[in-house]
């Protein structure tokens, strides 16, 4: 049966990656930015798995990498939300454009 070529998967992942990237550059809400970062990570995951399954010398490393990314992503989100909350307590806003006491 016909296979979807590896390139297609990677292209899709690249699209997702840059969508996330654009999100980080565009949105003001810290939480949304966090989501966009997650999208980027997922794009990477997709690429990794695709490579690991479809490369000539296919091995499971890609998948292993992805598992670690899961862990890291979880940790990141936890810490990230904690930071956002701590900040939100001092100044009830998650608008990153308002967090500019330090500049120059």
């Amino acid at each position: 049966m016909t296979h979807v070529p590896l390139g297609a998967f990677i292209a899709v992942s690249a699209m997702l990656f840059f969508i996330g990237c654009a999100g980080v550059l565009m949105r003001r809400n810290a939480v949304v930015i966090l989501m966009c970062v997650e999208l980027m990570l997922n794009a990477a995951n997709l690429a990794l798995v695709a490579f690991s399954r479809r490369l000539p010398a296919a091995d499971e490393r890609g998948s292993v990498f992805v598992t670690f990314v899961f862990v890291i992503a979880a940790a990141e989100v936890a810490v990230g939300l904690a930071i956002v909350l701590a900040a939100y307590r001092n100044r009830p806003s998650v608008d990153v454009d308002e967090a500019r006491a330090m500049r120059g």
Binding site: L6, S13, G20, R53, T67, V79
Partner: protein, 176 residues
């Protein structure tokens, strides 16, 4: 005609994936954004299945669609925003950013297409066994480190949000 299933599924998934992702970026309601993100994760899981990596797909559903989405939803709930007009959801630099991202994305996507396919997965069937063996075999050390990472994140997160001294009370109980 069965041999066209995979491409069709792939196309559908891709469209959904990209569409949902774009929605996350563009949608104003954060809660629905979060849910769309979860949907994106699901599509990714689908991709994994398509690639024959069922185990990873499972993890994906558990961790992302499960844990992370929930976390983020909590985060969204704890940080309510005063309603504002649509443009204010975006930074002033949005157009410029779009240009830059496009400048990079377009060539990269085309370059991505250039990856040559190695044919069907050499070892047919599931990826559970190889994954498990390598995780607890050669990758034992990073595995341990990863666990420490989770510990560190936990401690840190607690340290950042726990309320012990009166200073915290000036911020409303009712919020948390």
């Amino acid at each position: 005609m069965f041999d066209l299933i995979e491409p069709i599924v792939f196309v559908l998934l891709s469209v959904a994936l990209v569409g949902a992702g774009a929605a996350v970026v563009l949608l104003r309601r954060i809660t629905s954004g979060a849910l769309l993100m979860a949907f994106t994760f699901l599509c990714i899981a689908g991709m994994f299945v398509l690639l024959g990596a069922e185990t990873i797909a499972a993890f994906q559903v558990l961790i992302y669609v499960g844990a992370i989405t929930v976390l983020i939803l909590y985060g969204v709930m704890f940080t309510p925003q005063s309603p504002r007009s649509y443009p204010l959801f975006f930074q002033r630099q949005t157009p410029l950013a779009a240009v830059f991202v496009a400048l990079i994305a377009v060539p990269v996507v085309f370059i991505a297409l250039s990856f040559r396919d190695g044919g069907p997965p050499a070892s047919g069937g599931g990826d559970l066994v190889p994954l498990a063996t390598s995780l607890f075999g050669p990758f034992a050390f990073p595995f341990e480190v990863a666990s420490v990472l989770l510990l560190a994140a936990m401690i840190g997160a607690i340290a950042l949000v726990k309320r012990e001294d009166p200073l915290d009370d000036e911020f409303g109980e009712e919020r948390l």
